[in-house]
């Protein structure tokens, strides 16, 4: 599977969400000129933000609904180094969801080569009340539509395995 193969971000026809495309930035590199560990989290978070935007759950939503998606957990697997001059892309699958939680898995590519995978669990939080809350009906419908579109996408063997576990 290649992120290049599906430039259209619309989650139709069973393709992963692949809108993210970003050249490696100088401020993401560390002493040896490679992408710093924490910068993979920056990239994953930015790629997932585009998915949340597509679902109507990004910045505008925070403003209009006083509610927001919070990241509860993130699990990164580092597979290859990335350096300046490379372009990063992501292929994201909505793996699971319920009325207030989303679980996204992404493959991160550097110039088309798989460089990392990242999995995140999000919970919908009412920021005024300060606790988790169900998504509004219209957002639940968007989530359901993406789940349906992603239902038949292959699930990576490492999905949901703890640190150090191998498929």
């Amino acid at each position: 599977m290649s992120a290049e193969a599906s430039p259209d971000p619309a989650p139709r026809g069973g393709a992963p969400f692949a809108a993210y495309r970003q050249p490696v930035r100088g401020e993401w590199l560390d002493y040896n000129g490679h992408l710093n560990d924490s910068s993979y989290a920056v990239v994953l978070s930015a790629a997932h933000e585009l998915v949340l935007e597509h679902l109507g759950l990004s910045a505008d939503y925070r403003e209009s609904h006083q509610a927001s998606m919070f990241t509860v957990e993130t699990h990164l697997r580092y597979l290859a180094e990335c350096s300046a001059g490379q372009t990063l892309t992501a292929a994201t699958t909505l793996v699971d969801a319920d009325h207030k939680r989303l679980r996204l898995h992404s493959e991160l590519y550097a110039d088309g080569v798989l460089a990392a995978t990242g999995e995140s669990l999000y919970v919908h939080v009412d920021t005024v009340a300060g606790h988790s809350a169900p998504l509004p009906e219209d957002r639940q419908a968007r989530v359901a539509a993406m789940r349906e579109a992603h239902a038949d996408l292959p699930r990576p063997a490492h999905l949901g395995l703890g640190v150090g576990s191998r498929p």
């Binding site: 100088g26 401020e27 993401w28 590199l29 560390d30 002493y31 040896n32 710093n36 560990d37 924490s38 910068s39 989290a41 920056v42 978070s45 930015a46 910045a59 919070f70 990241t71 509860v72 957990e73 993130t74 699990h75 990164l76 697997r77 580092y78 699971d96 969801a97 319920d98 939680r101 679980r103 999995e119 669990l121 699930r155 999905l159 949901g160 395995l161 703890g162 640190v163 150090g164 576990s165």
Partner: protein, 194 residues
């Protein structure tokens, strides 16, 4: 997304030579890094950006590497520790200027791998803010593959492991991620491919 102000990512300990003394007390857990959440880590609503938790854990890991004996000179000689996996749990938001205290526990190691666990706690209240479980591998950078740690570093790891032997294993260690549903039968989870 936070825009770091420096031209590249640095840690507070860069350039500081490793100094294993051999007779120093080994903290259980190790407490090698504390900091104050700086303005450049804040997002639009003045909470710490998600990825900056990992930046802070990375700084604590760098302090640990130097405590162990892995510094610029060690890396220049051709070997380093690479992170292969990181599992973060975000527990509480962090606001500008809050004191952050990091701890590090050695869970397990063999000749070329380290399994470590970090906690980030509030410096005044001790509230657990976040944790990170990491797997690291010792790498021969020239050959581009994993390699055994040298005996002197293994001996230090053994000493740290002995000091940490009685620490309880944190409940999130090894735990898989997932949306857990009440009243769910194991076969239902299986059908969802979990």
């Amino acid at each position: 997304m936070t825009e770091p102000t420096s031209s590249r990512i640095t840690t507070p300990y860069e350039g500081r030579a490793a100094a294993w003394t051999g007779d120093a007390e080994i903290g259980a857990p190790l407490r090698l890094h504390r900091t104050t959440a700086p303005p450049e880590w804040m997002d639009y609503n003045d909470h710490m950006s998600e990825s900056c938790y990992l930046l802070a854990f990375g700084d604590s890991a760098d302090a640990f590497f130097r405590f162990l004996g892995i510094d610029e000179a060690y890396r220049a000689a051709g070997h380093s520790l690479y992170t292969t996996e990181t599992h973060l749990h975000h527990r509480h938001e962090v606001s500008l200027g809050e004191p952050l205290e990091m701890t590090l526990q050695l869970l397990d190691h063999d000749r070329r791998r380290l399994h470590i666990f970090h906690e980030m706690r509030h410096g005044d209240t001790d509230l657990l803010l976040a944790s990170a479980e990491q797997l690291l591998v010792h790498v021969d950078m020239g050959a581009g593959r994993s390699a055994d740690l040298p005996d002197h570093l293994l001996a230090r790891l053994d000493a740290i492991a002995a000091a940490h032997a009685d620490l309880p294993e944190p409940d999130v260690v090894g735990r898989p991620m997932g949306i857990r549903r009440r009243h769910e039968q194991p076969e239902q989870r299986e059908r969802r491919g979990q």
